[in-house]
């Protein structure tokens, strides 16, 4: 996909070892368990009336589907309105192109330092590394992102980037990297970070932010945040560059109201965030602050490919609240880094295979028990479990009806041995006679799991085959079912 592909591939090869490492790390287990339990409780408390929640989800899903149903028109309308407002709009096929566009603007402005508000798309395209390679400093200003950057890590959660660290770890990190005193006082640590970052805001040449919703009707970029770093990023430096995926567009201004309500409540249980920042133009004549230039970079990176398929399309409804990961029993156990990709958790499992290719991300769709907790809380009703099953099918090219799906890396996980197992399984199970003949199922079960039973019995006793099958017991009674 981009210059970071090799890094991602490296990560995926190490999926199981990474998982093992995370699971064996009591600190990671404890930090995530505590955080996820808290977030689940907060979300529950934020939706006291279930019928309101369900109606809001219906509405939000409809709004996102409406936007997707008109996506090319809305993108053009967004571009036309932003341009009329004085915002420059750029289009990028992939992360590399987007990085290049941003670098070009930086170089034109002779910029040396970029301050960043939180943006997952910029993480996706590894913008910080790209700018630093070209001798432009990129500094994260969201406190969580700042911590992660100090630690030379990547976010482990899309909403709370430093959720994998506890206070002691952050205190040590800030002490080592910035010279603050070691302290368990979060107020103190936060105040120190404020001071460190304020100086940088004053001096930054360019601010880079993400976008939560881009409103086509008015040409407005909406940002949701609590800290105020997003407002500073988009107001203080003389140039603001917003970067976003092409799917973030909504049709009308009023469409953002239910989406905003669901986003903040689903994410952290807040009825609203501290700031909802709507930007429609650069500084106008007579205005005393705000950037002189505003740019929007629209990034595709595989999204238009997802768009081709009626079922996979639902992936693009996502509003990035993170509720799916907060409620995921797998994410809770392994944390965000073990996935090895920008977007962890259930949304990552259905999005990354498209962005990186299934050949690269082949372990992601199977790393789910399909428990459905993600789909149950998704504010825009993305059927995540269904999409996981679809991607499992794509990975092994297991449905001849989807041979022209165009999913990158389709069939890359198909192995002759597993195909053979399922073919013989099907042969045995489509005939009642054959099934019963070898006490059918038991034989097949053993054949199917020859090397896998070890994985099962490592932490469980082996299941014991019954002395006679239900088929045999029913037949022995001689009532209905005695004859087939």
């Amino acid at each position: 996909m981009s210059h970071n592909q090799s890094a991602a591939q490296g990560a995926v090869k190490a999926f199981h070892p990474r998982v093992q490492e995370a699971i064996n790390n009591p600190q990671i287990r404890a930090n995530f368990r505590k955080a996820m339990d808290g977030l689940m409780d907060k979300r529950l408390a934020a939706f006291p009336q279930d019928d309101e929640l369900q109606q809001l989800r219906d509405l939000a899903a409809a709004i996102r589907l409406r936007a997707l149903s008109k996506l090319p028109e809305l993108l053009e309308r967004l571009e036309a309105n932003l341009t009329a407002n004085g915002v420059k709009v750029h289009w990028a096929e992939n992360g590399d192109q987007a990085c290049q566009i941003i670098l070009d603007i930086c170089q034109q402005k002779n910029a040396k330092s970029v301050i960043k508000g939180k943006s997952m798309v910029s993480e996706e395209m590894e913008l910080n590394h790209y700018l630093e390679k070209h001798n432009i400093e990129a500094l994260e200003s969201d406190l969580g992102e700042y911590i992660v950057q100090l630690a030379e890590e990547t976010p482990s959660h899309i909403i709370m980037p430093a959720i994998h660290k506890n206070t002691d770890q952050i205190s040590d990190l800030m002490h080592d990297k910035t010279g603050t005193k070691r302290s368990r006082d979060v107020e103190y640590l936060t105040a120190e970070a404020r001071q460190q970052l304020r100086e940088r805001f004053e001096k930054a040449d360019i601010g880079v932010s993400g976008v939560n919703f881009a409103v086509a009707e008015t040409g407005t970029l909406c940002l949701v945040e609590n800290e105020g770093n997003g407002r500073l990023t988009t107001t203080v430096p003389p140039v603001h560059i917003a970067v976003t995926g092409i799917e973030k567009v909504v049709e009308n201004l009023e469409d953002v109201t239910p989406l905003l309500s669901l986003l903040t409540r689903s994410a952290t249980g807040q009825h609203i965030t501290t700031y909802f920042n709507m930007i429609s133009s650069p500084r106008k004549e007579g205005e005393l602050d705000g950037p002189e230039e505003v740019h929007l970079v629209l990034v595709d990176s595989g999204r238009s490919n997802i768009y081709q398929d009626d079922e996979l399309l639902d992936t693009l409804r996502c509003i990035r609240c993170g509720a799916c990961m907060n409620h995921c029993p797998v994410y809770t156990r392994i944390g965000g880094h073990a996935y090895g990709y920008t977007y962890p958790g259930p949304i990552g499992k259905i999005l990354m295979p498209h962005l990186a290719g299934l050949d690269d991300a082949k372990d992601l769709p199977s790393a789910s028990s399909l428990c459905g907790a993600c789909g149950e809380v998704c504010p825009v009703r993305i059927p995540i479990p269904k999409l996981l099953v679809r991607l499992r099918e794509e990975a092994v090219a297991g449905d001849s009806q989807h041979n022209d799906s165009g999913v990158k890396g389709r069939g890359s996980k198909r192995s002759t041995s597993e195909s053979l197992i399922w073919k013989s399984w099907a042969g045995m199970h489509k005939s009642g006679g054959l099934y019963r003949a070898g006490t059918g199922a038991a034989t097949v079960f053993r054949a199917l799991m020859p090397n896998k039973i070890g994985a099962w019995t490592k932490c469980r006793t082996a299941p014991k085959l019954a002395a006679s099958t239900l088929h045999q017991q029913v037949k022995a009674r001689g009532k209905n079912g005695g004859e087939s």
């Binding site: 808290g38 977030l39 109606q55 589907l65 969580g144 004053e202 920042n277």
Partner: protein
């Protein structure tokens, strides 16, 4: 082909064909209506729940309250609008023994360092306010620029009770935002700046104001 055209072409020539838009039923949003007095109560409850300080005042005593708060908080100065009525009123009735009044009288480039480190508090009015979420609605302008409600550590917002609307949706609709055209920047502010990025522990004032003080004039 440009990236733009290539992307739009792929979206237009969608393999599974044209999509139809489902109906969006906003009734769940529109159903949220409260009486005028309930709106004030709800607004106060919501914005206090996110750490804002609320004082109910009258049209005649609000300035006394403001003066008392500014003194009680030990502020050395206060950034006040020049043209907005709240600013005019404050300037008219201020006295020399009170903290110095400042003006956002020039582009930010001319006094960035001073604004960032030398201003203790700021006063703004609001365009409207939202009961459902306890939010202030601001459209910053030449008189009350964007950084006024963001950079100083204490933000005083003066709200008239009759400015309270039920929901954000109602604000957009009833004020005709789309038809009149959006300003450079429109804002909802709900509480002081905060973060929970260190082990989900709330801390205030991480980047913006540490205190948000709302005077509701009834």
């Amino acid at each position: 082909m440009s990236a733009r055209d290539a992307i739009l072409n792929r979206l237009r020539n969608r393999r599974d064909g044209e999509l139809t838009a489902p109906v969006s039923d906003f009734s769940v949003v529109e159903a949220k209506q409260w009486s005028v007095s309930d709106r004030v109560d709800l607004f106060q409850q919501k914005i206090e729940s996110v750490h804002a300080e609320v004082h109910r005042v009258s049209q005649t005593d609000w300035l006394d309250k403001l003066k008392a708060l500014v003194q009680a908080k030990g502020l050395n100065n206060l950034l006040v609008p020049q043209k907005a009525q709240v600013g005019v009123d404050i300037r008219q009735q201020w006295s020399d023994d009170l903290p110095e009044l400042l003006s956002y009288g020039q582009p930010i480039e001319g006094w960035k360092a001073e604004l960032f480190s030398g201003v203790d508090g700021a006063v703004t009015d609001v365009r409207s306010a939202i009961a459902e979420t306890g939010s202030l609605v601001l459209w910053p302008d030449n008189d009350q620029p964007r950084l006024m409600s963001l950079v100083p550590p204490v933000h005083f917002a003066i709200v008239d009770a009759d400015q309270l609307k039920n929901t954000f949706h109602e604000v957009i609709r009833s004020e005709g935002w789309v038809n009149q055209g959006m300003p450079t920047n429109a804002l909802l502010i709900s509480g002081p700046s905060k973060t929970a990025d260190i082990e989900q522990t709330l801390a205030y004032g991480v980047h913006g104001p540490k205190e948000l003080i709302v005077l509701i004039r009834q």
